[in-house]
């Protein structure tokens, strides 16, 4: 019998049954095996795809070692971002300070790799040992003539969301450095797509067909110089709004660029992401081109989904992801495949997000905030889910319980965004659910009366 800790009871909500406001935005309960990471993780994953920058983790080796090659983000050129650099602080530096080592590390790495900019991530102990990271960065920046940006991402100073904010503050310093390159009157920045498995290239192609120029991508396939002219774009299009809203707001305040929130997952949300941009520019030609793109893509896609839907109709899914915006899209995308969402949760959702999830899910659906493996296994079993959508940490929970799994986390190697991504997503879900292996699973035999 799995019980929910008292401290967490209000972070779990059954749609149609419970009436309280779901508790969220809290620090994880000590001793609850949260699936969340830390502030550093938030900063690291957001900035990771900036390909021609040097990313130096200032701290003991673990933080750099665990994040080496952690994302499936692709680059069309420089591969520098995939290197794992660390100051690898030792006892000596913990006692006498790490500034000297940080300085030396920055200088030697900039000399060797000639990056366009450098990010220095502070980990837990950096503040505690009193390193003046700001001063070291400023000095190296002066000496080497490139931006050297501190990222204040000490792990314990909040949650992953605070890490997003720290990343946005760092990247914002790159914006506005290029005022000479001309920018189209129909230009946008794509914020919050990380080019996992080349997703941003799919999205950019849609916008190109619409006659929209993508001025910069922050941060998928990101380039320091490109980000430098982002302030000249006319609109910020924000996906993964949990991580990038801070940047969009800062750019609005400073440069007056409006922003819209979009999602590139699923058919409706992907279409809206294109139409919303077209409507913003309110240009007849663009709107016509957009209709053409959507019509073409959707009419190619829908027939292909049919065969998947036939097999998947009536299946049930559990979703547990980092940001709740992704959860919204997944609930809708699954509906196209005839799959009902019975459990949905996120690491960082807000009250507003969970209310929206209440609206789009059916009675009996469990909605959970910052859940843990034991709770997830309990909900999966109680609600009879056939599929779990999550990340690597959630995968063994699904597999041990004999249900299908789809990796929708930042490590994934399949492009799931765009219309093309919807097809990949359907194929991925289908190939896991329809696999014949489940019929041997003891849990399935016992709890679901086996698999046909």
């Amino acid at each position: 019998m799995i019980e929910i800790l008292d401290e967490r009871k209000r972070q779990v909500f059954e749609n149609g049954k419970d009436s309280y406001n779901i508790a969220c935005g809290k620090a994880s309960t000590a001793g609850s095996v949260s699936q969340r990471a830390c502030v550093f993780c938030g900063s690291r994953v957001v900035l990771y795809p900036i390909a021609d920058a040097l990313h130096l983790v200032h701290g003991p080796i673990g933080c750099a070692a665990y994040t080496w090659d952690i994302r499936g983000s692709l680059s069309s050129g420089s591969e520098l971002y995939r290197m794992s650099f660390s100051t690898d602080l030792r006892e000596n530096e913990v006692i006498y300070g790490g500034e000297k080592k940080l300085y030396e590390a920055l200088v030697e790495l900039i000399d060797q790799y000639a990056p366009k900019a450098a990010f220095v991530y502070s980990t837990c102990i950096v503040g505690l040992i009193g390193d003046d990271v700001d001063a070291v960065c400023a000095r190296v920046s002066r000496e080497k003539g490139i931006p050297v940006l501190p990222v204040f991402s000490e792990g314990f100073k909040g949650t992953k969301k605070d890490g997003y904010r720290a990343a946005c503050e760092a990247v914002f310093k790159l914006v506005g450095r290029d005022n000479t390159t001309p920018v189209s009157p129909f230009s946008i920045n794509i914020l919050g797509d990380f080019n996992l498995a080349g997703e941003i290239w799919i999205i950019k192609e849609y916008y190109r067909k619409m006659g929209i120029e993508v001025t910069s991508c922050i941060t998928g396939d990101g380039r320091v110089d490109e980000i430098g002219r982002a302030h000249k774009a006319k609109l910020n299009v924000v996906q993964c709004s949990g991580s990038m809203s801070y940047l969009a707001k800062m750019m609005k305040e400073t440069y007056g660029i409006p922003f819209i929130r979009v999602s590139y997952f699923g058919i409706e949300d992907m279409s809206s992401a294109l139409y919303d941009v077209a409507n913003f520019f309110d240009n007849k030609e663009i709107i016509e081109k957009t209709q053409k793109v959507v019509l073409e893509e959707v009419s190619t896609l829908l027939p292909q989904l049919e065969s998947f839907r036939r097999d998947l109709e009536g299946k049930k899914a559990a979703i547990y992801v980092g940001g709740s915006f992704k959860a919204f899209s997944l609930v809708k995308a699954l509906r196209h495949l005839g799959i009902q969402t019975v459990v949905v949760g996120s690491q960082t959702g807000t009250q507003e997000d969970y209310n929206y999830l209440k609206e789009i899910t059916e009675e009996g659906t469990i909605i959970c905030d910052d859940t843990n493996p034991l709770e997830l296994s309990k909900f999966i079993l109680e609600k009879g889910a056939d599929l779990l959508i999550g990340g690597v940490k959630e995968r063994p929970i699904a597999y041990k319980m004999g249900i299908a799994f789809c990796d929708h986390n930042h490590e994934r190697k399949e492009a799931l965004a765009g219309f093309e991504g919807m097809l990949n997503f359907s194929r991925e879900v289908h190939s896991s659910i329809m696999s014949p292996v489940w019929k041997y699973s003891p849990a399935r035999i016992k709890h679901a009366g086996g698999v046909e």
Binding site: S28, A30, S34, Y113, C124, K157, P396
Partner: protein, 470 residues
């Protein structure tokens, strides 16, 4: 282009920074040990990220659930101390998981702010023993491994955790006081695969004497599919078995690089007179012979014919394949004891490790390697405190034939355009890394086939004709 190849010039001096690390931090090793103890859940006293990262890294290799709790430091915890967080973490984990034991580790954060965790735990134990008297609830055993991430590598955490468990439990058994205990032995395995641990069980069983194998994640980190959700996957060294380690005939430790202050076998010897023997990791004929001899010495029993037969087949295989191996050059990297053993094995085949590296800082690594590789025609480059980019820079002019070690050497091998023979930890890009057998005569045979077949494949695919008999 592969990331590690981007460079503008060859550096002339050693680096202040670490570029693509060949090591992990200490709490990682401690968590693996704790998951190798029956009913034990690790609890990291630090930021939430430490536990999540370590879980993710371990899950990607073992492909098993690895639940690790966190005391989840916040900003105020870092200022005012983590005692309250630790206590509520301990009680929440106890309530939810009902574990037999909780293995607490520290982090760079908790160590830097000077947390006195042993004192917190002692007080917690004292308070709860009052509660236990009142409500009779069974409380878990508590272990504490000090694992500051800025000191040493994951192997230091691994050894420290074993030490913490043994020094806490051994000699505390109450059940055996009036009973004549049968003779038994201890084996401390080092960081090996789940399959290796199963092999060690087979080897130990064949000596027909009870034993304690510590740690033992042969099942807890490589179990079957479940019928019911298991809060803590079953398997692991039983606590009672650890309690009795103090009355064993002797303790065999696999691996020779364990610092004395972490050495549980030394502690058992000085406190209980349990004889301590360290042997190299049993990879290769000579290392495995040494291991079996030590087992014979402690148990007084001969090596069973079954193992002698495997040994015979291993020698037969060495001879069958010797021409493919002789004079070939290898790069070997990883944990110190693992690398020492792999080098010993390769040298038995006439394969010359030309670059040998470990991520740990070690004074004795170079001399040990050189003594194992004294038959090398040219002196190998031996690096401690190494990282993967430095390895690549050093390897360029060595024309090696293959790379042998964890999957983290992928870019190294790819840049050198030579094969990577995956073994050790971690294997993040293939199935079954935890099922690779390295140890004993059978493990050596497995590695021999991998090495020899890799060399044969090079020969086959580089031939224009592509012979089907090689």
């Amino acid at each position: 282009m592969i990331a590690e190849a981007i460079k503008t010039k060859t550096p002339s001096r050693s680096y202040a920074s670490t570029r693509n690390a060949c090591k992990l931090c200490a709490p990682f090793g401690a968590c693996i040990v704790f998951r190798g103890i029956s009913g034990c859940i690790p609890l990291i006293h630090g930021s939430q990220g430490c536990s999540t990262y370590i879980r993710r890294y371990g899950i990607s290799h073992f492909r098993e659930p690895i639940d690790i709790a966190s005391s989840n430091f916040t900003e105020s915890t870092a200022i005012f101390g983590g005692r309250d967080n630790l206590e509520s973490a301990l009680s929440n984990v106890t309530r939810q998981y009902k574990p037999e034991a909780i293995g607490v580790t520290s982090t760079c954060l908790s160590e830097t702010i000077g947390e006195n965790v042993p004192m917190y735990i002692a007080q917690y134990e004292k308070d709860r023993s009052e509660r236990e008297k009142n409500d009779g609830a069974k409380e878990p055993a508590l272990f504490y491994a000090s694992t500051p991430s800025y000191r040493g590598t994951h192997m230091d955490g691994f050894h420290e955790a074993i030490y913490s468990v043994v020094s806490k439990l051994a000699g505390t058994s109450v059940a055996s006081e009036n009973v004549e205990e049968p003779k038994h032995i201890n084996l401390i395995s080092g960081f090996v695969s789940s399959e290796d641990l199963r092999e060690l069980h087979k080897i130990l069983s064949s000596f027909e004497m009870p034993y304690t194998l510590l740690p033992d994640y042969s099942e807890s980190l490589d179990g079957g599919s479940w019928e019911e959700y298991q809060k803590l996957p079953k398997g692991g060294t039983p606590l009672e078995s650890i309690r009795r380690m103090s009355s064993a005939v002797g303790t065999i430790t696999l691996g020779e690089s364990i610092p004395r202050e972490h050495d549980a076998s030394a502690w058992l010897e000085s406190n209980f007179g349990v004889k301590a023997a360290r042997v190299p990791m049993p990879i290769g004929i000579e290392n495995t012979d040494a291991f079996f001899s030590q087992l014979t010495e402690f148990t007084g029993r001969p090596i069973s014919q079954k193992w002698m037969d495997v040994r015979g087949r291993l020698i037969d295989a060495y001879i069958d394949g010797h021409k493919y191996c002789f004079g070939k050059k290898a790069i070997v990297y990883g944990e110190e004891d693992f690398v020492l053993a792999i080098c010993s094995f390769l040298s038995e085949l006439g394969i010359e490790p030309v670059l040998v590296a470990t991520g740990a800082v070690s004074d004795s690594f170079k001399s040990r390697i050189l003594s194992i590789l004294k038959k090398n025609r040219s002196e190998p480059i031996v690096m401690d405190d190494a990282d993967f980019v430095t390895m690549l820079e050093k390897a360029k002019d060595l024309s090696p034939d293959f790379v042998m070690g964890s999957s983290k050497g992928f870019y190294l091998a790819k840049n050198l355009e030579i094969p990577l023979i995956r073994c050790g930890f971690p294997i993040h890009d293939r199935m079954g890394g935890h099922r690779i057998l390295h140890l004993g005569y059978r493990g050596t045979l497995n590695l021999f086939d991998l090495v020899c077949n890799t060399l044969m494949q090079i020969k086959q695919s580089s031939s224009k004709i592509g012979y089907t008999y090689i």
